[in-house]
C-alpha cells in the first residue's frame, strides 16, 4: 500500500502549481485563478487528512516520517544543506489546519473578491497559493534552515497580499512596514540559524543527529565534537551560548507572531483584503512563529532563561494588546489586537511549559479567528467596505448566518464555556499557574494573562454589540449588501468548529471524570517512534521540563477547577460589562471617560511612533550623514587628488616661460644643483 508520507511534499507542491497556473494563465481562467487554488488546497487538505490518519496509526504502523528530499548545497569538508520532510503529530496537525483554512479562505475569496469585481485577481490568487505553499512547506520542514526559508517566503506573500491594493497609498506602506518589521525579527532569527549550523553542523530538528539532541548532550556533559570545536575558541559555556541562540531564533518568532515589541506591523496589515487577514494574519502566518517554538521545543526546554523570557513576552503581549483592543473603532482593528493578544497566550503557554496547551490554543484560535475575520469580511461586504463599528449596528437581523457564526467565534475568543476558546485558554492559564507557583517569573506572566481574559471578554463583546445589536446607525447598515453561499459556507463550517473544537482536549472534564478524552494530549504524546527515534514526542519534552508543578488548595483537581472558574468568571465579567455599556439601542463612546489613557491607547502606546522614529528619525538621517560624508570626504579626497594634480600641473608648466634665456638659466641652475648635491654627497670639495 502506498504510504501517505510519500505524498507529503505534494501537499505543498499542489499550491505551488496553482501559483504558477494562476500567475501565468489566471487572466484567462473562469474565476481568475481561484479554481486552481481551490482545487490545489482541496488536494492538500485531502492529503493532509490522509497524513493525519497515517500518523494516527490508523493506516499502518509507520507513524512518523523523515526524509531528505533535496540536496541544497553540498559542502566539502563541512556540512551540507538540504531540504527535507518531517511528519509527526505536531506537523501533521498543523498541515491539516493550514490546508483547511486555506481552502475555506479561497472559497470565501470568491465572494469577497470575485463578486466585488476586483481587478488583479490572478495576482491575488497566485499570492494566496504561494502563501499556502510556503506555509505548508514551513510546517513540514525538517531543519531550521528550511524553516527559515519558508518563513521568509511567508513574509513575502504577506507583503504581496497586504499591498494588494497597491494603487492606494496605505496598503503599500503597510506592506512595507509588515515586511520590514518581521525582517528585523528575522535578522536575529537568521543569526540564530547560522549560529546553530555553525555550532552543531546541522539544523535538523529531530533525531539524535538533530541539534536539540546534540545540545542536550552538550549540556549534560557529553559534548559532541563539533560543538566543542565551536565553543572552545568562543570561550563560552554551552548553556550560555544556547541561551543566546535560542533568543536569537526567538527574534524571528517575536516578529512573525507579532509579539511585543515587534507587534506593530499586524494592525497595519489589516489594509490587505479581509480573507488575507483571516488566512495570514490570524490563522497561519502569525502562527508560524509559535509553531517554530513548538517545533524546536526540545531546544528551548534546555535553557530556562529563554523559557522565562518567552513566557514573559507572551503574558505581557496578551495583556498589552488586549488593552489597545478595547478602544478601537474599526472592526478589523479589534480583531488584529485580539490576534496579537491570543498569540501572547500561546507564547505564555510555551514559555511556562504548557506544550499541549499551546498547540491546543493554536488549533482553536486558528479556527475561531479565521471565523471572526471571515465574519468581519462578510460584514464589510455588507457595509460596502466601511469598517467603522460606529457606522454599523443592528446587523443581526439583516445577516443572520454571519451573526450566529460570528457570535460562535466571539464566544470562543472570549473563552466562554463550552466554546473552543474556553478549553484551550483555560489550559494555558492552568499550566502557567501550576508552573508559576514555583517560579515568580511565570507567575507574573500568568497574572498578566489572567487579567487579559477580562479585557478579552469585554472588547470582544463590545465589538459584537456595536456591530450587530442596537439600531442601524447609517444607511449602509440599514440596507446591507447581501452575501452569497461562498461566504456563508466557510462561515458555517468554521462556526460549527469554533463551538465544538474544544472537545478534542477537555482536560478539566477528563480530570474530573477520569475519562480519557484528552485526545490532543494523547495525540501529541505520539507513538513509540516519535519519542524514541525522532525525540519530538510529549514525553521527551516532559522529561526536559525545567519547572516543577505546584498546586493550590490541596491538589491537582481543585487547582484545575479554581483556575477554570477564575478565567471563566473574568471572561463573563468582561462580557457583562460590555453588555451593560454597549448592548443598548444607541451606544455612546464610553472610552472617552478614560481621558488621557484613551489617547495613549488610541495611539497604541506610541509604539509605532518610536519605531517610525527609529527608522526615519535615526536611520535615515544617519544615512544622509553617511552620504554627505561619502560625497564630501571620501569622494572629496579622490576628486581632490585629481584637482591638486591638475592644479600643480598648471603651475609646473609655467616654468616653461617661452624665453630661451630663462631656459638656459634654469638649465644652469638645475645642473648646478645636481653638481652641488652630488659634490656634497661624494665629498668632492
Amino acid at each position: 500500500m502506498v504510504s501517505a508520507f510519500e505524498f507529503v511534499p505534494a501537499i505543498a507542491v499542489l499550491p505551488l502549481v496553482s501559483f504558477v497556473v494562476a500567475l501565468a494563465f489566471g487572466k484567462w481562467m473562469p474565476k481568475k485563478g481561484a479554481l486552481a487554488g481551490i482545487f490545489a488546497t482541496a488536494g492538500s487538505l485531502l492529503l493532509s487528512i490522509w497524513t493525519v490518519l497515517t500518523v494516527a496509526g490508523i493506516l499502518g504502523s509507520e507513524t512518523a516520517y523523515h526524509e531528505e528530499i533535496w540536496q541544497f548545497a553540498t559542502g566539502i569538508g563541512t556540512f551540507d544543506l538540504h531540504l527535507g520532510v518531517f511528519v509527526d503529530p505536531l506537523s501533521s496537525l498543523m498541515l491539516l489546519i493550514v490546508s483547511l483554512i486555506s481552502l475555506l479562505v479561497f472559497v470565501f475569496s470568491l465572494g469577497y473578491m470575485n463578486d466585488e469585481n476586483e481587478t488583479g485577481l490572478p495576482r491575488y490568487y497566485a499570492s494566496l497559493s504561494l502563501f499556502s505553499f510556503s506555509m505548508l512547506a514551513f510546517v513540514f520542514a525538517d531543519n531550521i534552515l528550511m524553516a527559515f526559508m519558508f518563513f521568509e517566503l511567508v513574509g513575502l506573500c504577506s507583503f504581496l497580499l497586504i499591498g494588494f491594493w497597491f494603487r492606494e497609498d496605505a496598503p503599500p506602506s503597510a506592506a512595507k512596514k509588515a515586511f520590514l518589521v518581521t525582517r528585523f525579527g528575522d535578522f536575529f532569527f537568521l543569526i540564530g540559524v547560522v549560529g546553530i549550523f555553525a555550532t552543531f553542523g546541522t539544523g535538523l530538528f529531530v533525531t539524535e543527529a538533530g541539534f536539540p539532541a546534540m545540545a542536550e548532550q552538550a549540556i549534560s556533559g557529553e559534548m559532541p565534537g563539533t560543538v566543542a570545536d565551536f565553543l572552545e575558541p568562543l570561550g563560552m559555556g554551552a548553556q550560555g551560548w544556547f541561551t543566546i541562540l535560542g533568543l536569537l531564533v526567538l527574534g524571528g518568532v517575536v516578529g512573525k507572531s507579532a509579539q511585543f515589541p515587534l507587534h506593530t506591523w499586524l494592525p497595519d496589515a489589516m489594509e490587505g483584503p479581509t480573507p488575507v487577514s483571516a488566512l495570514i494574519h490570524a490563522a497561519t502566518m502569525v502562527a508560524a512563529g509559535v509553531y517554530l517554538v513548538a517545533r524546536m521545543y526540545g531546544f528551548y526546554l534546555l535553557t530556562p532563561t529563554t523559557m522565562g523570557i518567552i513566557a514573559l513576552i507572551g503574558g505581557f503581549t496578551a495583556l498589552f494588546a488586549a488593552t489597545m483592543g478595547v478602544v478601537k473603532q474599526e472592526l478589523k482593528q479589534v480583531l488584529a489586537y485580539s490576534t496579537i493578544s491570543q498569540y501572547g497566550y500561546m507564547m505564555l503557554a510555551l514559555g511556562s511549559g504548557g506544550y499541549v496547551a499551546a498547540v491546543f490554543h493554536l488549533t482553536t484560535h486558528a479556527v475561531f479567528k479565521a471565523l471572526l475575520f471571515l465574519g468581519a469580511g462578510s460584514v464589510i461586504i455588507a457595509m460596502h467596505h466601511n469598517e467603522n463599528m460606529w457606522d454599523m449596528g443592528g446587523l443581526k437581523e439583516k445577516m443572520p448566518v454571519t451573526y450566529w457564526t460570528f457570535l460562535s467565534g466571539s464566544l470562543a475568543l472570549a473563552g466562554i464555556f463550552p466554546f473552543a476558546g474556553f478549553w484551550s485558554k483555560d489550559e494555558v492559564l492552568y499550566e502557567a499557574l501550576i508552573h508559576g507557583l514555583g517560579d515568580p517569573v511565570i507567575l507574573v506572566a500568568w497574572a498578566m494573562g489572567l487579567l487579559a481574559v477580562f479585557l478579552t471578554g469585554f472588547y470582544t463583546f463590545r465589538m459584537v454589540f456595536l456591530t450587530f445589536h442596537g439600531e442601524p446607525r447609517t444607511d449602509d447598515a440599514e440596507d446591507p449588501h447581501g452575501v452569497r453561499w461562498n461566504v456563508k459556507l466557510p462561515l458555517g463550517v468554521l462556526g460549527v468548529l469554533a463551538a465544538t473544537l474544544g472537545f478534542i482536549n477537555m482536560v478539566p472534564v477528563a480530570k474530573l471524570t477520569g475519562a480519557h478524552i484528552d485526545f490532543l494530549h494523547k495525540w501529541l504524546v505520539g507513538s513509540e517512534i516519535v519519542n524514541a527515534e525522532f525525540l519530538t514526542g510529549l514525553h521527551v519534552y516532559e522529561d526536559l521540563l525545567p519547572y516543577e508543578s505546584a498546586y493550590i488548595a490541596g491538589g491537582e483537581v481543585p487547582t484545575l477547577l479554581i483556575s477554570a472558574a477564575l478565567s471563566l468568571g473574568l471572561a463573563l465579567a468582561g462580557v457583562g460589562l460590555a453588555y451593560r455599556l454597549y448592548a443598548v439601542p444607541e451606544p455612546v463612546e464610553h472610552t472617552k471617560k478614560l481621558g488621557g489613557l484613551r489617547t495613549l491607547l488610541m495611539h497604541n502606546y506610541y509604539q509605532d511612533e518610536y519605531q517610525v522614529w527609529l527608522a526615519e528619525g535615526v536611520t535615515l538621517p544617519l544615512a544622509r550623514v553617511a552620504d554627505t560624508f561619502d560625497q564630501g570626504i571620501i569622494d572629496g579626497v579622490v576628486n581632490g587628488i585629481s584637482s591638486v594634480s591638475l592644479f600643480s600641473g598648471d603651475r609646473i608648466r609655467r616654468i616653461q616661460t617661452g624665453v630661451v634665456s630663462n631656459y638656459a638659466a634654469l638649465l644652469t641652475i638645475g645642473l648646478a644643483l645636481l653638481l652641488i648635491a652630488f659634490g656634497i654627497v661624494g665629498g668632492w670639495f
Partner: protein, 506 residues
C-alpha cells in the same frame, strides 16, 4: 644558418651596413637634388629616402635575427680599433631609428607636398638617422660626441624647416641654442673625464678609472656633465626645455622623428657610456650615477606628465608626454644597481623605447595628418573627428592608449616591464620610481584619454569636411598602429633580443 652570423663570411665593416646605407641614401638625395634642383618629383625623393631607410631597416633586422654581434655568434664586433662597436644593443636601436625614419619619410611625402627644398629635408632626416645609428655603435666618447652632433645639427635645420612659419623658426632657435649649450656642456664634461682618465674609448676609461681615481671632483663633475649632455638628447630635466617648443613648432613628422628616434639615440649612448665607461663599482665612491638618474627620472616623468595634463594643444601635450616617457625610460638606467637584475632593467627600458618609437611616431604622424587637413591644434578642434576619419582615429586611439599603458598595444607590456623592473630592484628609490610611475601613468591616462574623448565622444564643434585621404600619411599612421598593436601579441619577438642585448652589456 644565415651567413652573416659569423664574422668570417662578410668583412667586419659590413656590420655597419645600416649606417652606411643611411649615409649613402642621404648623399644620393643630395645628388638627385643637384641634378634636378626643381622639386618636380617629390615622389622620387620620398621614394629614395624611404627605400634607403627601409633597406637599412631590413638589413638591421636581418642582422638582429642572424645574431650579428651577439654573444651567441662571437660577441660584439669592434671596428676602427674599438671606436665603434656593433652588438645587439646597437642593432636593436638602429632598428628603432631606421623604422622611425621609414615612417617619417613615408608620411612626409604628403606633409611636404607643395613645399620647397624637399631634397634637403629628406637628406637631413637621413643624415640625422645616420648620426643616430653611429651613436648606437659609438664606443668612444669622441665618436659619441661626433655622432651626437651629426644627428643634432640636421635636426636643428629640420625643426626650422618651415622657415616662413614663426613657430617653426622659434622652435628651431630654441632647440639650437639649448642644443649648443648642451653640446658645450657635454664637451666640457668629456674633457673632464679625459682629464681624470686619459682615455676616451669607453672600456679604456673604465680601465683607467679602475686603477684609481686621483681627483674625484673633476671626474664627478665630468660624469654629471656628460649625463647632462645626454639628457639634452633624451629631453630629460633639466635639459628638456627645448623639447615642448621644438616638438610643437617643428613639422609634425619631425616632431615624431625627434621625440622617438632622437630620444632613443640619446638613451643608447647613455646606456652604453655609463655602463661601459663608468661601471658603478668603479665610480661609486665618486658619484652614484644611478641616484642621479633616479632623481632625473623622477623629476622628468613628473614634470612631463603634470605639464602635459593641463595643455590645450594636442601636439604640445604629446611633446610634454614625450618628456614624461623619457622619465620612464630613465628608470631602466636608474635601477642598474647591484640589487636589480641589471639586464632586465636595461632591457625593459630598451623595450619601452622600441615600442615608443612606433606609438609616439604614430601619434605625431596623426597630428601631421590633422595639420594636413587643416584642422586646428587644440583638443576642441579634434572634437568629433572620429566621425570623419574613423580609421585614422582608431589608429590614434591605439597609439594613445598604448602610450598610456593599456593593453591594446605593446606600450602596455613595455611599461609593465619597466614597472616590474622597479620591483626587482626593490630598493627605496626603486619603489619611489614605481610609485611615481604609477601616479604619472594615471595622470597620463587622464590626458591621453582627453584626446580620445575629443575624437570619439564629443560632438564636432564646427563643420569641416575631411576631404582627402593622403596615402603616405595614412600608410604611415596605419602601419605604425598595426605594429604598435602587433607588439602586444608579438612582444616576444623583440623582448628576447632586448634582454639578451642588454645583458651582454654587463
Amino acid at each position: 644558418m644565415i651567413p652573416l652570423q659569423t664574422q668570417s663570411t662578410l668583412p667586419d665593416w659590413a656590420a655597419l651596413a645600416p649606417a652606411i646605407l643611411l649615409g649613402l641614401t642621404a648623399l644620393t638625395l643630395f645628388l638627385i637634388d643637384s641634378i634636378d634642383p626643381n622639386d618636380e618629383s617629390p615622389s622620387l625623393l620620398a621614394g629614395v629616402a624611404t627605400l634607403g631607410s627601409v633597406l637599412a631597416m631590413v638589413v638591421t633586422g636581418w642582422y638582429l635575427v642572424a645574431g650579428t654581434g651577439m654573444p651567441r655568434t662571437g660577441g660584439a664586433i669592434e671596428l676602427f680599433s674599438g671606436q665603434l662597436v656593433v652588438d645587439g644593443m646597437s642593432l636593436f636601436f638602429t632598428f628603432i631609428f631606421t623604422s622611425v625614419t621609414a615612417l617619417v619619410t613615408v608620411a612626409s611625402y604628403d606633409y611636404l607636398s607643395g613645399r620647397p627644398n624637399q631634397a634637403e629635408y629628406y637628406a637631413l632626416v637621413l643624415l640625422a638617422a645616420t648620426g643616430m645609428s653611429v651613436m648606437a655603435s659609438a664606443n668612444s666618447l669622441a665618436t659619441a660626441f661626433v655622432a651626437l652632433e651629426l644627428s643634432s645639427l640636421p635636426s636643428y635645420g629640420l625643426v626650422a624647416y618651415l622657415k616662413n612659419d614663426r613657430g617653426s623658426v622659434e622652435a628651431g632657435l630654441k632647440y639650437f641654442l639649448i642644443g649648443a649649450v648642451s653640446s658645450a656642456v657635454l664637451a666640457y664634461g668629456i674633457s673632464l673625464v679625459y682629464a681624470s682618465s686619459g682615455a676616451l674609448q669607453l672600456d679604456a676609461v673604465a680601465e683607467a678609472l679602475s686603477m684609481g681615481i686621483q681627483n674625484t671632483g673633476v671626474l664627478g663633475v665630468g660624469i654629471l656633465m656628460v649625463a647632462g649632455g645626454f639628457a639634452f638628447k633624451t629631453a630629460s630635466v633639466p635639459f628638456h626645455f627645448w623639447a615642448p617648443e621644438a616638438y610643437e613648432g617643428a613639422p609634425a613628422p619631425i616632431s615624431g622623428f625627434l621625440s622617438s628616434a632622437s630620444k632613443a639615440a640619446g638613451f643608447v649612448l647613455a646606456f652604453r657610456v655609463f655602463v661601459t665607461a663608468f661601471p658603478l663599482e668603479v665610480v661609486a665612491g665618486t658619484i652614484d650615477w644611478t641616484l642621479a638618474f633616479t632623481v632625473l627620472a623622477l623629476v622628468t616623468m613628473t614634470l612631463g606628465n603634470f605639464a602635459a595634463a593641463t595643455q590645450d594643444k594636442v601636439k604640445r601635450m604629446l611633446a610634454y608626454s614625450s618628456i614624461g616617457h623619457a622619465g620612464y625610460a630613465l628608470i631602466g638606467i636608474a635601477i642598474v644597481t647591484g640589487t636589480a637584475n641589471q639586464g632586465y632593467a636595461l632591457g625593459a627600458s630598451m623595450l619601452h623605447l622600441f615600442v615608443y618609437g612606433f606609438m609616439n611616431t604614430g601619434a605625431f604622424l596623426f597630428v601631421a595628418l590633422v595639420e594636413y587637413w587643416g584642422v586646428g591644434r587644440t583638443f576642441e578642434d579634434y572634437n568629433g573627428l572620429a566621425k570623419q576619419a574613423p580609421v585614422a582615429c582608431f589608429a590614434m586611439t591605439i597609439f594613445l592608449f598604448s602610450l598610456a599603458g593599456l593593453p591594446i598595444g605593446g606600450g602596455a607590456l613595455s611599461k609593465w616591464a619597466l614597472l616590474s623592473a622597479t620591483a626587482s630592484a626593490a630598493t627605496l628609490s626603486a619603489w619611489l620610481l614605481a610609485a611615481a610611475l604609477i601616479v604619472n601613468s594615471a595622470l597620463s591616462l587622464f590626458y591621453y584619454s582627453r584626446v580620445v574623448k575629443a575624437m570619439w565622444i564629443e560632438e564636432p564643434a564646427g563643420d569641416f569636411e575631411v576631404s582627402s585621404h593622403p596615402t603616405g600619411l595614412y600608410a604611415a599612421v596605419v602601419g605604425a598602429a598595426i605594429v604598435t598593436f602587433l607588439l602586444l601579441p608579438a612582444f616576444g619577438v623583440v623582448s628576447g633580443t632586448a634582454f639578451d642585448a642588454a645583458a651582454a652589456l654587463f
